[in-house]
Symmetry: C2
Subunit: 297 residues, 2 copies
């Protein structure tokens, strides 16, 4: 299958590497130099002590029309506004789209795309971009995919073909539940670890952080349409424990003075709260706090 | 006048030094070694590039009865529970008391003391304890004093006698207003600077921190009986600017893994909120957050 991947950050490189095993992959980069580097060196993946390399075609994003069967959109939520106009301009009904963003801020944006078949994915892998052509697969998780509209068969088949122990995928019947669950986890773990500068596990092992996390959890789920809150709370705790030694992406972004995904996560919740006419004082506070930390001197 | 000062931290040493100029001062220390050191070397004060030394009598706190006319209680709020039983045991109506704690948590505790004359003070000086006998007067402010009950004349006179440019004092007619105003300032500036790890000035210069501070301010004043909120908000901003390069005491406590005064400040507000049956989500969150940071690994 011809697969295009838009975005060559950690996630884009990771998916380009694994999909290249069975598919004809083109990765679309923002910078010309990165495209050149990938065309020259391929993409290198580090997993544990091992290292592999795959040849992958790379093209600078602005270049032109898409000729792929499937496009994976692997840019951060806050870069979507640059990408979506191209998908409209290059409207071809036959292209199936898979969006891999965190949060839920993209839902309101992709609704207006002309493509018939759109799926959503949740990335449960840990990945770090080491340089323009190298990605470290820091945590083996899975890709969870759910159809947003139309048919998801071609995308599911594409992932089925590369389904391995180190890159498994799973189908989920309800896209809202899939994204909302991830959103709750991100909304609770990310801002707190970034604010406290702690690894995920300390949110559970420190009894005071545990309480503040619980307080935030209850506020967050009040605007999310998910049932069985008790089960969800247990799931959050489980994630904190399982990823105990991890530094969340938001913490790493703050530590490296990069833009975070706070808009896609807390911003989305505040938008929902406004629509539902509810107050989310903690979410509002954390939204401003993370924004402030992003530009802290 | 015979003046006793209980507590030989930064504030205790600072007041012992300045009061020694005109009064017969005894400083009560928790540790025997500190009392010995002060008896041997006196108290040294650094102010700007200058340095002075005063001979001061020091006694370990447990030693016995008080023979002073006036006692200044200069221990942190969270050490009051060790001190107050001694003041009851050594009940002598003739001793006038001056409490110099931050926050308002001490009010409910001193109410039950037997002494007739009790005053409250707010310390607007910056002071750092350099070692057991040396204090650095980092910021010249003033002492604001208000009578809590009985007659405050003797205490006022005691401070009037040492009233100088570098150690001025001021009387304030309403103790509640005096403490509440300081409490609001502390409740807003301290936890945020400690959480964000920023100097006071950045709460004003960073537009996102400014918003989170404003949000916290509105929550805090909702349980404090003070009028003219607009004027008070301007006062908070002014303090942030005037002390722009300062690291708040709570921030320094967190940085040095020491206990903070969060109980006296946010704990008091939460107690008031409970009595008044109000929810203070941000205050609650910050209370847990600071407690968590105190014991962060």
């Amino acid at each position: 299958m011809k697969v295009g991947i838009i975005g060559a950050g950690a996630v884009g490189l990771l998916y380009a590497f694994y999909l290249s095993n069975k598919h004809d992959v083109t990765i679309y980069t923002r910078r010309k130099e990165q495209a050149n580097a990938i065309n020259e060196k391929g993409i290198t993946l580090n997993l544990g002590n091992q290292q592999w390399n795959e040849n992958v075609r790379a093209v600078q994003f602005d270049a032109g029309d898409f000729e792929e069967d499937i496009l994976l959109v692997a840019v951060k939520q806050y870069h979507l506004d640059h990408v979506l106009p191209h998908l409209k301009k290059n409207a071809e009904e036959k292209i199936d789209l898979l969006f891999l963003q965190n949060g839920m801020g993209h839902i309101n944006k992709i609704r207006h795309l002309p493509q018939k078949n759109i799926s959503l994915g949740v990335v449960e892998h840990g990945a770090l971009k080491k340089d323009d052509t190298t990605v470290v697969h820091t945590g083996v998780g899975k890709t969870v995919i759910s159809s947003y509209r139309g048919e998801g068969e071609r995308i599911n088949h594409c992932f089925q073909m590369i389904n391995t122990n180190s890159f498994p995928f799973e189908l989920f019947p309800d896209w809202y539940e899939m994204l909302a669950k991830k959103l709750v986890v991100n909304a609770v773990i990310n801002p707190l670890t970034a604010l406290y500068r702690v690894e995920n596990g300390e949110l559970v092992s420190n009894p005071f952080f545990y309480k503040s996390m619980e307080q935030l959890f209850h506020e967050v789920i009040s605007v999310i349409d998910l049932e069985d809150h008790q089960h969800l709370w247990k799931y959050v705790i489980e994630i904190c424990k399982k990823t105990g030694k991890n530094r969340s992406s938001m913490l790493r972004d703050i530590e490296n003075s990069r833009q975070t995904e706070v808009e896609a996560i807390m911003g989305y919740l505040l938008h929902e709260a406004e629509v539902k006419n509810r107050a989310l004082p903690l979410t509002k506070f954390l939204y401003e706090s993370i924004k402030g930390l992003e530009r802290k001197k």
